[in-house]
């Protein structure tokens, strides 16, 4: 029994290592353009892991993760924009009649500060919203709606405060990071490698977190929040923590997104992208860590693939795909794997019982 567990772990480890190496060596066999796309998908995958931690494990459905993704992305983009303008005012500020750099932009002159804020800022917002709502036991559909309203409000604010955020156009036209030209193939490859490494780190970190006792507590909260209270847990604290963590992860994903795509705008963080993010997780299979990664990469690859092949009607294909998966694979793609595993196990158990009976 013990040896099979070790084998299983080893098996997983080998599969993941192979995947990791495959991803890491992608620059060798993908064109720059495709590599860039893959890098973007992987950034989405990072976000999806965080979202699944929240939804799949803790049972809190957030339809507002676009905002955390966006905050991270904007933090990074603000620094990049300032560096591109070499200390001058970004162009949109001058149109909007600003004469000097607004206070809120000042910290973003320093890349390290920008990167740290890109994680802390979304985390802080999530912490505030989370503690205000979870402490009062606002949960389920109420929380989901609030999270979506948060998106609406912040996007409106981002669009409205054009002099600070660039409005609907968002922030784009970056040149350098730490003085290194961003658009060169070598820099982009580096960003890609960083994305893969961050993805791997977050993947392993989250796996570790959910595979232990802590993960069981999360599942307990998901399946019976009140029951957990009577076991002596404070689900609000756990939920707030996971919400904050997943917002921080989303922020990180946002930063990696901006580095590789070179633009962030409100369309990327609004209601529809936020719902799409949930779809990645649902499609990949929630309640696993690998599921959201698969979901995010596959959905986005399908989106790109369909829209390149059939620019006029690709949305129908994508919609059909979603419907098919929801109807036939309610547990997502990893659910398929689990059904298969369960069937195999039940067969094994069947044999086992037979043997036991024959001894009696």
């Amino acid at each position: 029994m013990q040896s099979t567990i070790i084998q299983k772990l080893l098996g997983h480890r080998i599969i993941f290592s192979i995947l990791f190496i495959l991803l890491l060596t992608a620059p060798l066999y993908l064109s720059d353009f495709r590599l860039n796309l893959l890098g973007k998908f992987l950034a989405f995958a990072i976000l999806a892991i965080g979202l699944d931690l929240l939804w799949g494990y803790t049972g809190v459905l957030s339809l507002g993760h676009g905002i955390f993704f966006g905050l991270g992305a904007y933090c990074m983009a603000m620094y990049l924009k300032l560096e591109a303008n070499a200390g001058g005012l970004p162009d949109f500020m001058t149109w909007s009649g600003m004469s000097e750099l607004p206070l809120i932009w000042l910290p973003f002159q320093y890349p390290i500060v920008a990167i740290i804020l890109g994680v802390l800022f979304p985390a802080f917002l999530a912490f505030v919203l989370g503690s205000l709502t979870f402490r009062n036991r606002i949960s389920g559909v109420y929380f989901t709606i609030l999270s979506q309203a948060l998106v609406l409000v912040l996007v409106t604010l981002f669009v409205g405060a054009q002099n600070l955020t660039g409005g609907t156009s968002g922030l784009t036209n970056f040149e350098t990071l730490f003085g290194i030209p961003m658009n060169e193939a070598s820099t982009q490859t580096m960003f890609y490698i960083i994305t893969v490494v961050v993805l791997a780190a977050i993947f392993l970190g989250c796996r570790r977190l959910v595979n232990g006792r802590f993960g069981n507590v999360l599942i307990g909260i998901r399946d019976g929040e009140n029951r957990m209270r009577f076991l002596g847990y404070n689900p609000s604290a756990y939920k707030t923590f996971i919400y904050t963590l997943s917002a921080a992860i989303a922020g990180m994903a946002g930063m990696l997104f901006v580095l590789q795509v070179g633009i962030i705008s409100p369309t990327m963080i609004g209601i529809i992208p936020s719902i799409e993010m949930v779809l990645w997780v649902a499609l990949g299979g929630r309640g696993t860590i690998i599921g959201p990664v698969i979901g995010a990469v596959l959905v986005n690859a399908a989106k790109t693939g369909f829209s390149e092949s059939y620019p006029d009607i690709w949305t129908y294909f994508l919609g059909l795909l979603f419907v098919l998966v929801v109807v036939f694979l309610p547990k997502g793609l990893t659910g398929l794997f689990e059904t298969w595993k369960a069937r195999r196990k039940s067969q094994n158990v069947g044999k086992h019982v037979d043997v036991a009976k024959s001894y009696r």
């Binding site: 149109w95 990327m268 690709w314 098919l324």
Partner: protein
């Protein structure tokens, strides 16, 4: 047993997608002569074979699809016309259509795909300023060409973009002057909350101040906003003579309906819109917007022989209900301008085409358009029009000659502050 089966079909589907992706990948790689590091090899591939690839990049899905699809149609029509007349440099044009999906990062991604993977000779596309700004770094970095067909706020001049829509001095500035002379001098500015209205209004305010107009109110509503009661209440209390409307898209429908419901007629307060053309009027309903004004370079009723042919061809291709409008026309003649420049240059090489395009003219449906070599905008005639009950717009005034484009408003004293702060 059924479910797993269907699941596997699904999986197969997914694998097909992946295969398709990698197949097109391989094909693209095969097209590339060598690694793309070598700049000089890059452009030659577009001249290879019997066709020249051009990219068409508009939103075919999402909120902008309604507007952008017709521009795409006009561009395809122009390509068809060129191909029927023997193509460019003896080669047929092959349009590569991509969907920007009303999402600006997608515009950047697809522009990259068109330039890097399909190696198109030029891209025709975009509608919103945001989409143009998203594509700008991509076309500059890949040294591509973008033809952008919509009127915009100015304050931009990329060496890799040709702007075939109106610059602010070819639409907004003359409209304000005309309104001051003919309709009154108290202005209410109403716009959607994004870059075009805000920038346009900044210029209008400077202009009003210089010309003795009076600003009685300024309101911005979020894109897609549909409840204008509070705004109309403000309008009612301020009693402006003119509302300068820079609302975009659906908001116009709500605004004009509610304005007419509130009993405010064009006689009381005239609304001049700069983002409402024939297509939008169809959606708003001519009865509620009848009598209000618009400012554009082109109307379907514009009286030129080129336009007669254009409207006829457009309707023949896309049905009798189809209407033409300014951005549609700008997209259409953009393709022709590019083709003319390529013929003149004798190659699709970007630098050569840009050089050849300087000062080039084309008899477009709105009259003769000429590319200004300095800023790659075009000389265009300005027209103020009044909406008729049949949804058409009848011209009430036009500039004597095509106006020189001035995206930074450098030729206007009152705009000095604006353009200077940008020059820094």
């Amino acid at each position: 047993m059924r479910k797993p089966f269907i699941a596997f079909v699904l999986l197969g589907l997914f694998l097909c997608v992946l295969a398709a992706c990698s197949a097109s990948e391989n094909a693209a790689n095969a097209n590339e002569p060598e690694e793309t590091d070598n700049e000089s090899t890059e452009d030659t591939s577009t001249d290879n074979g019997d066709t020249i690839k051009v990219g068409i990049l508009h939103s075919l899905s999402g909120t902008m699809a309604i507007s952008e699809t017709s521009v795409q149609q006009a561009e395809l029509l122009a390509i068809e016309e060129i191909n029927e007349n023997g193509g460019v440099l003896g080669k047929q044009l092959e349009p590569v259509v991509e969907d920007g999906a009303s999402d600006w990062p997608t515009f950047a991604e697809k522009a990259g795909k068109l330039l890097e993977q399909d190696q198109v000779a030029a891209i025709f596309g975009g509608w919103t300023s945001a989409s143009r700004k998203a594509m700008l770094p991509v076309v500059e970095e890949n040294n591509g060409l973008l033809f952008y067909p919509v009127q915009y706020e100015g304050m931009e001049s990329s060496p890799n973009i040709f702007y075939t829509g109106a610059a602010p001095n070819q639409q907004i500035v003359p409209a304000v002057n005309w309104l001051l002379e003919n309709k009154g001098d108290s202005f209410f500015l109403l716009g959607s909350d994004y870059v075009f209205p805000r920038t346009a209004n900044a210029a209008i305010k400077a202009q009003l101040e210089a010309k003795g107009g009076e600003l009685v109110g300024e309101e911005y509503t979020p894109l897609g906003h549909t409840d204008y009661n509070t705004v109309i209440a403000k309008i009612r209390s301020e009693q402006p003579e003119v509302i300068f409307n820079t609302l975009n898209g659906d908001s116009n429908v709500a605004f004009f309906k509610q304005l007419s419901d509130a009993g405010i007629t064009p006689e009381d307060t005239t609304v001049l819109s700069v983002s409402v053309a024939e297509e939008e009027i169809k959606g708003i309903g001519a009865e509620v917007i009848e009598g209000h004004l618009t400012s554009w370079n082109y109307y379907q009723t514009t009286d030129t022989s080129e336009n007669e042919a254009f409207v006829e061809n457009y309707k023949a291709a896309y049905g009798d209900d189809a209407v033409t409008a300014d951005p549609i026309e700008a997209g259409y003649f953009g393709v022709h301008l590019w083709a003319k420049a390529v013929e003149k240059a004798g190659t699709t090489d970007v630098e050569a085409v840009k050089e050849a395009a300087k000062g080039i003219s084309y008899d477009a449906p709105n009259g003769t358009v000429t590319i200004d070599g300095d800023n790659q905008h075009v000389y265009k005639t300005v027209r103020i029009g009044e909406v008729q009950s049949d949804g058409m717009i009848e011209q009430v005034w036009q500039s004597e000659e095509p106006i020189k484009p001035d995206p930074f408003l450098e030729g206007y004293d009152w705009a000095n502050e604006l353009s200077e702060s940008l020059a820094e």
